[in-house]
């Protein structure tokens, strides 16, 4: 299909993950396909045998003064730094575009919870004297996107979305729609998440450490979505073109196959599929893609609710020009997403 000016394209990426900081380290890790998960220190859970994908190489001090870094929670640090990297990757200099035409729509699963736990811990251990007001503003899940918008002056649509393991994909759908509706010219989207001890303890309490709570990772995977006409006008490099975004909320037990058909209408083909959330376990979907090469970034970097941002960034990095890619994400209780991406920009290249 010939790309149109009002198509949505991807003009920038950013990644912070267990692989390191930047898209080059992510690209290398995905190509090597070796797990980067590390053992969770035994003192956190009181037992060994569990793994996580901490973004251990990330140091906020490499990007901002320590005093400034102190006002952010870890998710916000990821988002602020990754947003700057994504804008730079898309060659969008600060102040070069109308701020009201650049938005941020971010998936964030666990953001704010670490601050909430610390805030409440202060109260439960020392009463109202133990409350630290400075922690409170960053208990909200939108702290990451909002702090990024404040730091980078993004005044367009600003929304934070969560839905199980498909939080980043939910954000992606919304970002695409906002561009199609002409609410903005550029939107940063993707996902950001962190892993922290209290979260792991709660997974353990719920008996999830050996099921869906295992192998969690953290970091940020951001994509710069842009109207193709806008990107061409400013001579931006186009990394990929966005095709259809299909979703269902959950499977209806009496019409399971109809749900599969909505996600992957037959005949369906893609050369490379990236899997996120629990998609690697969804054989009813994968059976429709028997000959497609698979890319499971969650196994390499760790999974989380919004790690689909890193999975989508990985897919874009691995797609060759004009190659057809599919990003498939799912959660045990829904939702499910299938997102078509095409490498490069055939007309431009």
């Amino acid at each position: 299909m010939t790309p149109a000016r009002n198509d949505i394209v991807i003009t920038g990426l950013a990644a912070i993950s267990a692989a390191g900081v930047g898209t080059a380290s992510l690209h290398d890790a995905i190509k090597r396909a070796e797990s980067l998960l590390q053992p969770i220190p035994e003192d956190i859970l009181g037992e060994s045998g569990h793994f996580w994908g901490k973004a251990a190489a990330f140091r906020a001090a490499d990007f901002m003064p320590p005093l400034k870094a102190r006002k952010f929670d870890r998710c916000s640090l990821f988002a602020v730094v990754a947003a700057g990297m994504a804008l730079k990757d898309a060659a969008i200099a600060p102040g070069s575009l109308d701020a009201a035409r650049i938005g941020i729509v971010l998936g964030c699963g666990l953001g704010g919870l670490a601050n909430a736990e610390e805030f409440l811990r202060g109260y439960f251990t020392a009463g109202s004297e133990g409350l630290v007001p400075m922690l409170f503003p960053n208990i909200v899940p939108n702290a990451s996107a909002s702090n990024a918008s404040i730091e980078h002056g993004l005044k367009g649509p600003n929304v934070t979305v969560i839905q199980r393991f498909c939080s980043a994909e939910s954000a992606f759908l919304m970002a695409k729609r906002f561009l199609e509706e002409d609410r903005a010219d550029v939107i940063l989207t993707g996902g950001v998440d962190e892993v922290f001890p209290a979260m792991l303890k709660s997974f353990k309490a719920m008996g999830q450490l050996r099921s869906f709570g295992s192998g969690f990772g953290e970091g940020a995977g951001l994509l710069v979505l842009e109207k193709r006409g806008h990107a061409l006008h400013r001579n931006a490099r186009i990394l990929a073109r966005v095709g259809g975004v299909r979703t269902i909320g959950r499977f209806f037990h009496e019409a399971y196959q109809a749900g599969v058909d909505r996600l992957l209408p037959e005949p369906f083909s893609a050369e490379l599929v990236s899997l996120s959330g629990t998609a690697a376990l969804d054989h009813s979907l994968l059976d429709r893609l028997p000959a497609t090469s698979r890319l499971d970034s969650g196994r390499i970097l760790g999974r989380s609710l919004a790690m689909g941002g890193l999975a989508m960034a990985s897919l874009v990095l691995m797609l060759k020009p004009a190659e057809t890619g599919l990003h498939l994400a799912s959660s045990p209780e829904g939702p499910y997403y299938a997102i078509d991406l095409y490498g490069g920009d055939p007309v431009q290249s």
């Binding site: 906002f178 269902i248 909320g249 499977f251 209780e333 939702p335």
Partner: protein, 405 residues
Amino acid sequence: MDSIKGKRIAITGLGIFSAAGKDVPAFTRALLAGESAIGPVDLFDVAPFPSGIGAQVRCFDPLAYFSRRDAGKLSRVDQFGIIAAGEALRDSGVTQHHCPYDIGVSMGAGASGMLQSEQWLKQSLAGRRGSPSLLRGVLPDRTATTIAQRYDLCGYQGSITTACSSSASSIGWGADLVATGRLKAVLCGGSDCLSLLTFSGFNSLKVVDPAPCSPFSLGRQGISLGEGAAFMVMEDEGEARRRGAAIHGYILGYGVAGEAYHMTAPDPTGGEAARVMRQALERAAIPAEAVGWVNAHGTGTPLNDMVESKAMKLVFGDRAPLVPLVSTKGLTGHCLGAAGAVEAMATVLSLKQGIIPQTLNFRGADPDCDLDYCHRGARSSDATLALSNSFAFGGNTTCLVLEKG
């Protein structure tokens, strides 16, 4: 490109469960009578805090709505959400007319199951083993998943978490999902409940009024927290009429933006708040002159109310004193993640009833808030269009354009 402008999005179902009324008829009566639901809070110990009041849902027995087994599995927020969503879906009758894959749920969330999860943390810190079920609702997306499961809404499930603007955005986004043709109907709204986290947090920031909140009044000291859930069913007007659905109102458009100013303070000029209101009007293709009144974010904090009044002047110019700016938070409390939906509901019902609701708890005129706030009582109105503002922590702003059905 498809646009909300190309389709009229009708509201065909309403449901609410709040301190001001546990269903639409009861909430409507409270709205008309101007009965504040703010009073003492006893969900947890409030003695350590300067303010011990809020709009708590009283006399709530989950077993009146759920089996013992289900009640034990559901957080307070999930329970509120399921009850309000059920009322809205029954009101619309939409599930009888469309395939489950054509109906979705778009909701705004806030503290969610924190009320239960903080008990687990307290027990854990005391060296006791808390019940894992207390943690079930800790993530804000739980309620949407629960509602989708309960009512077989299989087309979409998504939760917006932009603090106090969450559920207003979820309504706008739900309308978008219908406008694109992606779905035939979307259940949109929000659910949130009081929790120690938010109660202690806002108290620690010294933004909670020790008396019931008095938006736009002289001497106001801040918010009164509240809880509840409100949902609406959105459909394309043509489809709704074809199936003979009653239409309560319309969403004509919405604005959504980021102020990019400060994490907890609004842009003091009102320019950013005005921008999202203008954007909403542009998206709805409605001139400012057509707006009858505005349901304010109207928290009752000194700065927010002053800034929102400035924004009104920027949007409506000389006509600003003639466009009532009312806050229903004196009635419902500030329901955080559910606030936008509760206030959109109040707006739709007020338009339907032909009134402009009262801003409760007037303490005296503030020279910095010099517009018409309907402080003296609800009044009858032939307005057919109103805006509903929601401004959140982080500078997340949303404005809905709502029309009488």
